[in-house]
């Protein structure tokens, strides 16, 4: 862009890297499944070190009812409509996985105290589109698509809800689900006319908790799907097999010309790298394999459970977590075929490496994280999903979640826990809540896509 326009976001990833430092953070916190009969809420967190409220929750926007299980969220607009000066990055769309409601939250009128703008009713979504179990929100130019993991009865494979910019239900986005058995996350790269989607499980399978036996009964995913983005239909499946059990988060490089992307297979604790070869064929390989670790109380070694993955805005570093082990890792991916481990920190986890961080006992392990646009600050939370938390970290009920900040060295590589920042959600006014995904008002490393 010429700098005379513009709409939301940035002209390019390199411009985004140079953006102003984030001062606020919006983070989801849940009471669903905790025993506290209060609504889930969106917390505003002060991350301005010059502020007297630094490292504190400064506002809580409660949802209208209980039991949503807020999980992931996304913006109404991102850099994909940077050229449209009529658009603004104003609204956060926050789905409730269990209630099926989509909350549209106005963060622009008062960024410190967001307010509820609109509710897209979960029952209406079911009746109009036969979808339930919302997950990933991406804007699509000026409109929005949201992946859903189930049909109205919670059975796989679900599909994609299309909302217009007034947040009205247009209908289903996709023209076909092909033979896709499960849905979860997705990311698109328009210059390659491609979308890649991953597989968790049907809502009726994962919502009640994790039965390991159901992996063997093929109730959990092990594939990635390549879509013709313009035709809105899947065209190819990558069967990952044992290397790719429960493939969750999918991210492309931010460079819109790149065809390289990554997926974290949670149960296999592997990173799958995919790319388009010179002859136009989609390829994949396993590039990171986290060994299972022995535990005195476990009959089998503990898998990492790599539940999330993030690429820095300059495409230099890949970050992964091992929720059950308790570590976060940074890899230099300048050569995406050969990642180099450049940083690692420990916080919580089952291996007992870092039970206390900055004076706060950590229930859970590193689970969701958001990175600043300049790549230097990463905010990490500890809760995965209420029922899964209750299985693996039952103490999180009384101790709540924790947010930790990691200083990342973008020049030489390296990660270090920041000693001045800690947020203990165990001390929330209504009792211990669990923090999950975060977004920054000015954009972040999991929101923006360039056309």
């Amino acid at each position: 862009m010429d700098g005379l326009c513009c709409g939301p976001g940035y002209a390019s990833p390199s411009e985004a890297v140079r953006a102003t430092r984030e001062k606020l953070l919006y983070t989801i916190a849940i009471y669903t499944g905790t025993g506290i009969q209060k609504p889930d809420y969106l917390a505003t967190i002060d991350v301005d070190p010059e502020s007297q409220n630094y490292s504190q929750v400064i506002h809580r926007l409660e949802m209208p009812g209980i039991g949503d299980e807020l999980h992931h969220m996304g913006w109404n607009a991102c850099s994909s409509c940077h050229g449209d000066e009529k658009m603004t990055r104003k609204y956060l769309l926050v789905p409730g996985v269990r209630s099926n409601n989509i909350y549209v939250i106005d963060t622009a009128t008062n960024p410190h105290a967001p307010s509820l703008h609109k509710v897209v009713d979960g029952a209406k979504i079911k009746s109009k589109t036969n979808l339930s179990g919302p997950h990933t929100v991406h804007c699509l130019g000026s409109e929005i698509i949201i992946s859903f993991l189930g049909d109205a009865k919670g059975e796989a494979p679900g599909g994609y809800l299309h909302l217009n910019k007034e947040f009205e239900i247009v209908g289903r986005w996709e023209n076909s689900m092909g033979d896709i058995p499960f849905s979860y996350d997705f990311w698109y790269q328009p210059r390659h006319n491609v979308m890649v989607s991953s597989e968790w499980a049907a809502p009726n399978t994962f919502m009640p908790g994790f039965d390991l036996e159901e992996v063997g009964h093929l109730k959990y995913g092990r594939r990635l799907h390549i879509w013709d983005f313009e035709k809105k239909k899947p065209i190819e499946t990558m069967y990952l097999g044992e290397d790719g059990l429960i493939p969750l988060e999918v991210k492309f490089m931010h460079d819109p010309n790149s065809s390289h992307g990554f997926c974290g297979a949670a149960l296999s604790a592997n990173v799958i790298h995919f790319w388009k070869s010179k002859d136009g064929k989609w390829e994949w390989e396993k590039i990171i394999d986290i060994d299972n670790e022995p535990h005195p109380d476990w009959p089998i070694p503990v898998p990492g459970v790599m539940s999330a993955l993030l690429v820095s805005m300059d495409d230099k570093y890949l970050y992964i977590n091992n929720w059950l082990h308790g570590d976060m890792r940074q890899y230099n991916i300048s050569d995406p075929h050969n990642p180099m481990l450049t940083g690692q920190i420990w916080m919580g986890g089952l291996l007992g490496k870092a039970p206390v961080v900055n004076g706060v006992k950590v229930a859970g392990g590193p689970q969701m994280y958001q990175l600043s646009l300049d790549g230097k600050r990463m905010y990490v939370t500890t809760s995965l999903f209420s029922t899964w938390d209750n299985q693996f970290y039952p103490e999180i009920r009384t101790e709540g979640g924790v947010m930790v900040m990691i200083d990342c060295d973008v020049e030489n590589g390296g990660m270090e826990i920041n000693k001045d920042f800690i947020l203990d959600f165990g001390k929330e006014p209504n009792g211990p809540s669990r923090c999950h995904e975060s977004r920054y008002p000015g954009g972040d490393c999991t929101s923006d896509i360039w056309l």
Partner: protein
């Protein structure tokens, strides 16, 4: 009408008609209960049945071990007799387990994939 006794709420008694699921009948009488999906798929509203009998055939969240431990999905279950329940997360002592440390036997899986002992 059936009498529903909530043991862990001082044995408070509610009368239900059985025309709606227990969650909505009890909530409409002022009992504060957790819930999520409201179609029997997500386990948030699970309570433990101590005495009595319910019809919860439309639930799809519980595996057979959880059912054998007495768990009931209140958002779809209806009382067939007088019942006594423990409610809320205090009743969830046997609901959640670490699946790696404590695996399920084939007959303890969810109904659609369970292999019943008699068929072995």
């Amino acid at each position: 009408m059936n009498k529903i006794t909530i043991a862990n709420r001082n044995n408070t008694i509610f009368e239900v008609k059985g025309t709606k699921p227990l969650l909505s009948e009890l909530r409409s009488q002022g009992l504060d209960l957790p819930y999520g999906c409201q179609y029997g798929g997500c386990i948030t509203c699970a309570a433990k049945l101590i005495n009595g009998e319910v019809d919860q055939k439309s639930q799809v969240a519980l595996n057979n071990r959880q059912i054998n431990n007495g768990y009931v999905i209140l958002c779809v279950a209806r009382a067939k007799t007088d019942c006594t329940f423990d409610i809320g997360v205090e009743s969830h002592d046997n609901l959640y387990r670490n699946p790696f440390i404590d695996p399920l036997a084939p007959h303890e899986l969810k109904a659609d994939i369970a292999i019943l002992k008699d068929n072995n």
